[in-house]
């Protein structure tokens, strides 16, 4: 191919604008982080988790945690573990097979300690088993 110097310059310019535009677009419209993308900060049973957040709940704000606990109530809004952790479920999770009293393991994002109801709130929760 015989390209003049000028044409070459235009071509390089166009390509770099395209690459730049594409990466800008990628950066601006990057997908939301899912539960699996975020680093797991706690894994264990509910009682241990509760004592840990009593010491310092700020550490776990916005962190992903995996908790084993006992289901103490189920409603349309989500489930309660050990009467102290409210898990708002991911939209894809069905609660139809869960029973009160069952031991389960869930993974979700802690959004904070709700001092109106005195419970810890998780959202985007999925059931591990």
């Amino acid at each position: 191919m015989n390209l003049s110097k000028r044409n070459k310059g235009i071509l390089i310019g166009l390509v770099s604008i395209m690459i730049g535009g594409y990466s800008m677009y990628k950066y601006t419209y990057k997908p939301h982080k899912t539960i699996d993308d975020i680093e797991l900060k706690f894994s264990g049973n509910a009682a241990d988790f509760l004592t840990k957040i009593k010491e310092n709940n700020i550490v776990f704000n916005d962190a992903v945690v995996q908790i084993k606990g006992k289901v103490t109530s189920i409603d349309a809004q989500g489930i309660n573990l050990n009467n102290a952790i409210f898990c708002q479920m991911d939209a894809t999770i069905s609660l139809s097979e869960l029973k009160v009293g069952q031991e389960i393991e869930v993974k979700g994002r802690m959004i904070g300690y709700d001092d109106l109801l005195e419970e810890t709130k998780l959202d985007k929760t999925i059931i591990i088993k």
């Binding site: 939301h32 704000n61 916005d62 959004i111 109106l116 109801l117």
Partner: protein, 211 residues
């Protein structure tokens, strides 16, 4: 002999006295028990008069036409309404706001709201003239007055809410607007044109009885 008899005669009323005293004590104790039972049942009956949700929907919009919409929804707002006196409390976590654009969510939390430093937004107030028995399936308008606290700054807010009750659910919808300056949120010049001056907040809460 006679002496002993006299002694006995004297002693009988003594024991009588003791008896009646313990009886008195007993009735006092039982009275106290009954009273405390009454008090407890009274208190629990007051406590039962609360309606709440853990998954209330709070929206905000600060969009300007022709630019990328600046709007987010949180569907994990906690709301408690005391149906006896109309007191109203709400709490939401800033990080539960979900934006369509992930980068916007990141900027919202990091640059504008300082969500790590001020994770919560709260509202404490009351529904003026609230009377539980007046609620029906027809929507009624009430004024809600109270303090909105965002980023640790209080701002008095007043809005008209539509409240209705269908079976055991109270639904409450309202909207009001605030400005970023109210809460000392600085918006850089570059994006000033893309964010509207007033931020409209819409609330949709479906409350159920707290047992």
């Amino acid at each position: 002999m006679g002496n002993r008899w006299l002694f006995r005669k004297l002693k009988i009323p003594e024991t009588f006295k003791k008896c009646s005293r313990t009886q008195n004590k007993l009735t006092m104790v039982s009275k106290k028990i009954i009273l405390s039972f009454l008090l407890i049942s009274f208190c629990t009956s007051i406590q039962a008069q609360k309606y709440f949700t853990k998954t209330g929907i709070t929206n905000f919009k600060a969009s300007v036409a022709a630019f990328e919409p600046v709007a987010a929804t949180s569907n994990s707002t906690t709301v408690i309404v005391n149906t006896v006196d109309g007191r109203f409390a709400a709490l939401l976590f800033m990080k539960s706001f979900h934006f369509k654009v992930a980068l916007m969510e990141e900027h919202f939390n990091e640059n504008y709201m300082d969500s790590d430093k001020f994770p919560k937004g709260t509202f404490k107030g009351s529904i003026v003239g609230f009377n539980f028995s007046d609620l029906s399936e027809m929507e009624k308008e009430y004024t809600i007055k109270g303090m909105l606290n965002i980023r640790g700054i209080d701002k008095e807010v007043e809005s008209i809410a539509k409240i209705k009750r269908v079976n055991s659910t109270i639904s409450l919808t309202t909207n009001f607007s605030v400005t970023p300056q109210d809460f000392d949120i600085k918006i850089p010049n570059i994006v000033r044109k893309k964010i509207s001056e007033r931020i409209n907040i819409t609330l949709e809460y479906e409350l159920i009885e707290k047992k």
